[in-house]
Structure formats: C-alpha cells, structure tokens
C-alpha cells in the first residue's frame, strides 16, 4: 500500500470579520488555503500566532493568541500577501482555457470590495455568487473598504470574499477595478 504524502505549509493571512481584523498563520495541506476555506465538511478552522485588531484601529493590536478557531460563516474576507498562497491552480481554475479578467464591485454588509475576477468565457454573476459549493470567491488585486470606516482600506494581490455574506455584485467599467 502506498502512502499519500501530505505536504503542509504555513500561510500568513489577514482575516476580517465585520468588526475585527485577525492576522494569523494557517497550516494548509495539498489543497492550499482555498481547499481549507471551501471544505464544506468543516465550519471552523484553526489558526495560530493570532493577533487581533479592531476594524476602526486596524494597526493597533488588542490581543494575541498562540492558537484560535475561526468560524467560516463569519469570516468575511481573507487577504493574502502572495497570490501563490491561495493554493494549487487546479483548485482555483475551473478549466484550462484562457483566463479573462473583469473588474467588479462585491458588497457585503460591512465591506465594499473592488477587484478583478477571473473567468474563462463570460462573466457570470450567478456563478460567482452562488455557483458551486465553495463558500469563498476569489478577487485579485483587490481593495476592501469597511463601510463604517471608509477612510481605511485594505489591499491584497489575492482576496477571499465570503459569498454567503455578499449582498451584491456588479461589473465595473474596465479600469475601475
């Protein structure tokens, strides 16, 4: 019997709930962070080296923990410093065709997120919001603005957005992403 190897790696992530910023590390397996977040068999996930800030003072650390559990349903955003930390391409792209991009604005009750979505043939709003089983959509070169604190913004080359918290999605004119 052959043993499947599970490569583990550590990814630095900035998670946001509607009121807190949680900067932490996540240990991920072969499916990467996208696999962990979109795994429908678990509703919480473990993080470590956790530093918590309030949304209105995102640079001020109010608490830190060696380990913590986060509830997927309440994690609105996940920001990555590197696109390659998302996970293997096969878990991100639905086909091998040429990828197209379009700028969109995705809203939740707490955030306005502008960024690029990737797709293969045409931009399908329904598929982006409710298609498939994954909880999170991916936006690239994205910026999130907390609605309550619009003078603050958070930018990342890759951003997970919790689709179950989304209130709307609109395509922006090219160049407005």
């Amino acid at each position: 019997m052959t043993e499947k190897s599970i490569a583990r790696s550590i990814v630095n992530v900035d998670f946001f709930t509607n009121v807190h910023r949680i900067t932490c590390q996540v240990e991920v397996g072969n499916t990467g962070l996208v696999g962990l977040l979109n795994d429908v068999h678990s509703s919480i996930f473990m993080v470590r080296n956790v530093y918590v800030s309030r949304l209105q003072q995102p640079a001020r650390i109010i608490a830190n923990f060696d380990e913590a559990s986060l509830v997927k349903a309440n994690v609105a955003l996940g920001l990555l410093a590197r696109r390659e930390d998302i996970g293997p391409q096969t878990y991100i792209r639905v086909s091998g065709g040429k990828m197209l991009t379009a700028p969109v604005l995705m809203t939740t009750e707490a955030f306005e997120v502008r960024g690029l979505v990737e797709f293969t043939s045409r931009l399908d709003h329904d598929a982006l919001l409710v298609g498939g089983t994954g909880k999170y959509a991916m936006l690239f070169n994205a910026t999130a603005i907390p609605v309550q604190y619009p003078d603050t913004s958070f930018a990342a080359p890759a951003m997970f957005v919790n689709r179950t918290l989304a209130t709307g999605l609109g395509a922006l004119p090219k160049g407005k992403g």
Partner: protein, 403 residues
C-alpha cells in the same frame, strides 16, 4: 560588519535570519520578545534593529516608540519586518518611528539589499547628520483604485481634494519670504529642529520649485521628492518621499534641480493632509511666490510666518506680502512677522521697520555668526550649537506660539 538586533517571535524565522545575517558578515543578536529586545537595545550598541510588529508581550509599535524615546536608541535605524502588509500598518510603523518596512514572506535578496542600504546610509552620514529612508510601500495599490483613502493628485483633474477623513491633528507652520536671502530656509530648518527637540514629531516640507534648499542645508539626498509623487498618492507613496535627518526631523524635499511647475493645489492639499496625519508639526519652507501650493498651505496653516530682513527692499516686499495675505483673507491672528538679522548691522532700525509695516514684529532673530559655518558644514545650528542666539530666539517663539 554591523551589529544587528533581531526582535521576532518566530523561532524558525529567527534562525534563518541569523544564518543569513552571519553570511552577510554581520553579527546578529536574537530576541523573541519585545521587552527582551528593548533591554538588549538600551544596554548594547547596535547598528540596526530588525523588528517584528507582532510580538507576544508588547507589540512592535510600542517597541519602536520606546526605542525612539530613549536617548541611547533614538537615532538607531529600525527596519520593520512583518506579515502585516496593509497601509494602516505602515502608517502606524512610521508614526511609531520606524525607518524601513518590509513584509513577510520576504525575498532574502530584497531583505539583504534593504539591510545594506539602511546600514550604508546610516554610516555615510555619521558623524555628520544621517538620513534614513522611511518605509516604502511593499505593494502598490491597484492602479485604478478609487478608494477614499487614496487621493488622485493628477494635474489634469479639476475636482478638489476630498480629505479621506476628518482634518488630522498635525499643525502646519508656513514660513514665507518673498525676497531671496532673508533666511527663510534657515529659520524653517531650525524651527523644525527646535520642535523636535521639544518632543514634537516634526517634519519639514520644502515647497520651493527653485531647487532643494532644505535638502542642501541638511545635506540629505532624497531619492524621491514631491516632484516624483505619482498621480495617485496614498500614505505609502508619501512615505517613500520622506527621509529622516539625524536630528530626528523628517524631511520631504523639493527637487534638487529647479523645475518649471510647483506642486498643484490638489497635490499640495493631499501632501499636507498626509503630513499632518503623520506628524504633530509640519514646517513648510514655502516658495517665494503665491503659487497654488503656497496658497493652499497658507490656507491650511496654523501660523504663517513672514520673514524679512532689516533692509528697505525686504521691508517693501513684506509690506506688499502682508497686503496680498489680507487679500487672500488670511486672518491677521495667524500671521507672524519675523525680522531676521542676517547681517551684523541693520540697514533699517527696528522701529522704522515696524512703522513701515504698520504693525509690531512678533520676533527678532539676532544675527548669528555661527550660521555661516552651519551652512558650510551642512549641520544646522539647532544640532551643532543648540544654545546659539538664533536657536534660542526660535525656541522662545515656539514656546510662546506652538508648545
């Protein structure tokens, strides 16, 4: 070889960093907690501190603040190395006193280059004043981003600058002198130094398009000036254009070579906004003309300090300057007139100056023979001779109006 203190709670990262720094020929000391790092920093001599923001006991912002407030470590270069990559984090680090900012995961070559750059700049300028760059942004925001915290300063745009938040608490003090040679830059540089010495977080902004006089007086050689600011600026791009002088004063320079255009009004407003956000006091060495940038700064200023010499031409120009300020509806209460005696003997007596201006002088800066040496050596009097008459006069003025 440089002595480098690493304060980071990640055991693996510390080990890698130790190996890397040793290979680069440096001598690293490792600390895993903030308090431990502070104790090491104040009891030993280091050339650079590499500091994580997320530490288990006190965070890196507080470590940086405490390093800046301790005499022994106040000028020690601090490089922040953290997984926190948001503009707010960079702003916080800048406000706490950091000089460089890199985000994890970091490219070893980029880190090595940054360390070498910070060490070389620090050494080049010591013992004469040193300059160290403040944090550059690790990642530029999306080019077409239209978030409220990002300000478009394109000259093509006609929309007024909309501050992304309430007016910041920092104060602008504009030093104005419409006649060359009145000592405007000298007063600006030394006033900023006086404020910094009094515990304020001071920044000098050189708005003159006629060549970087502030940079020349302080012997700083910034790679980026306001002329290099991109059409869209945010706190990150601002941070790139600010350098820190060894006196503790931060500087945003004018281009070294004269340029045709001043900073546009909207850009000046954005620059002033962010500087007032970063610093408690911003001393503006204004251009000798009422261009868009100068009038914008004058409008935002807490005080407008009009500088003149005791000679007929300077008095006449100042009288007209005061009329122009009145026409701009600048409140009389925020105008301060300062007579700067740049020669041992005054051509016009003080009483005659006051009579010609139709108002009293708020300050008379006595002739200071040390100023010629200060200019030649590139070390301002506030640093080389803190008790010099010129510095004492400015300190008295600051105590009455700003402290």
């Amino acid at each position: 070889m440089a002595y480098i203190l690493v304060i980071d709670d990640d055991n693996d990262f510390r080990a890698v960093l130790k190996l890397m720094l040793t290979r680069l020929g440096h001598s690293p000391t490792l600390a895993s907690r903030g308090e431990e790092g502070l104790a090491l920093a104040v009891s030993n001599r280091y050339d650079l501190i590499i500091l994580d923001l997320m530490l288990p006991d006190i965070d890196g912002y507080e470590v940086a603040q405490r390093l800046r407030s301790a005499n022994r470590t106040r000028n020690l270069p601090i490089l922040i190395l953290t997984a926190r990559a948001q503009p707010a984090d960079r702003e916080g680090a800048l406000e706490a006193g950091a000089d460089g900012y890199l985000t994890k995961p970091v490219d070893p070559r980029e880190l090595a280059a940054k360390i070498t750059e910070m060490l070389s700049i620090s050494r080049e300028e010591t013992p004469p004043p040193t300059v160290t760059p403040v944090p550059p942004p690790a990642a530029a925001p999306p080019a077409a981003q239209a978030g409220p915290a990002v300000v478009s300063v394109s000259r093509a745009t006609t929309s007024p600058f909309a501050p992304p938040g309430p007016p910041p608490a920092g104060r602008l003090v504009v030093i104005l002198g419409m006649r060359g040679g009145v000592g405007k830059t000298t007063l600006a540089v030394n006033l900023a130094g006086v404020l910094e010495r009094a515990g304020k977080r001071a920044c000098l902004l050189d708005l003159s398009p006629a060549g970087g006089q502030v940079a020349l007086q302080l012997r700083v050689r910034p790679k980026v000036t306001w002329a290099d600011l991109p059409p869209v600026i945010d706190s990150g791009t601002m941070a790139q254009a600010i350098v820190r002088h060894d006196s503790g004063v931060f500087v945003m320079s004018a281009p070294a070579q004269p340029v045709r255009a001043s900073l546009a009004a909207e850009a000046a407003q954005a620059v002033a906004y962010y500087l007032r956000k970063f610093f408690s006091d911003v001393v503006v060495d204004a251009a000798p003309l009422l261009d868009d940038a100068t009038t914008t700064a004058v409008g935002d200023a807490k005080y407008v300090v009009v500088v003149l010499n005791p000679d007929v031409g300077s008095v006449e120009v100042t009288r007209n300057t005061l009329r122009a300020l009145a026409a701009l509806q600048v409140p009389e209460a925020k105008i301060k007139v300062v007579l700067n005696q740049t020669a041992a003997e005054a051509a016009v007596p003080m009483s005659a100056v006051e009579k010609a201006l139709g108002r009293g002088l708020d300050l008379v800066v006595p002739f200071d023979k040390g100023q010629a040496t200060a200019l030649a050596q590139g070390v301002p009097l506030v640093v080389s001779q803190p008790n010099a008459p010129l510095v004492a006069a400015l300190a008295g003025f600051a105590a009455k109006t700003l402290l």
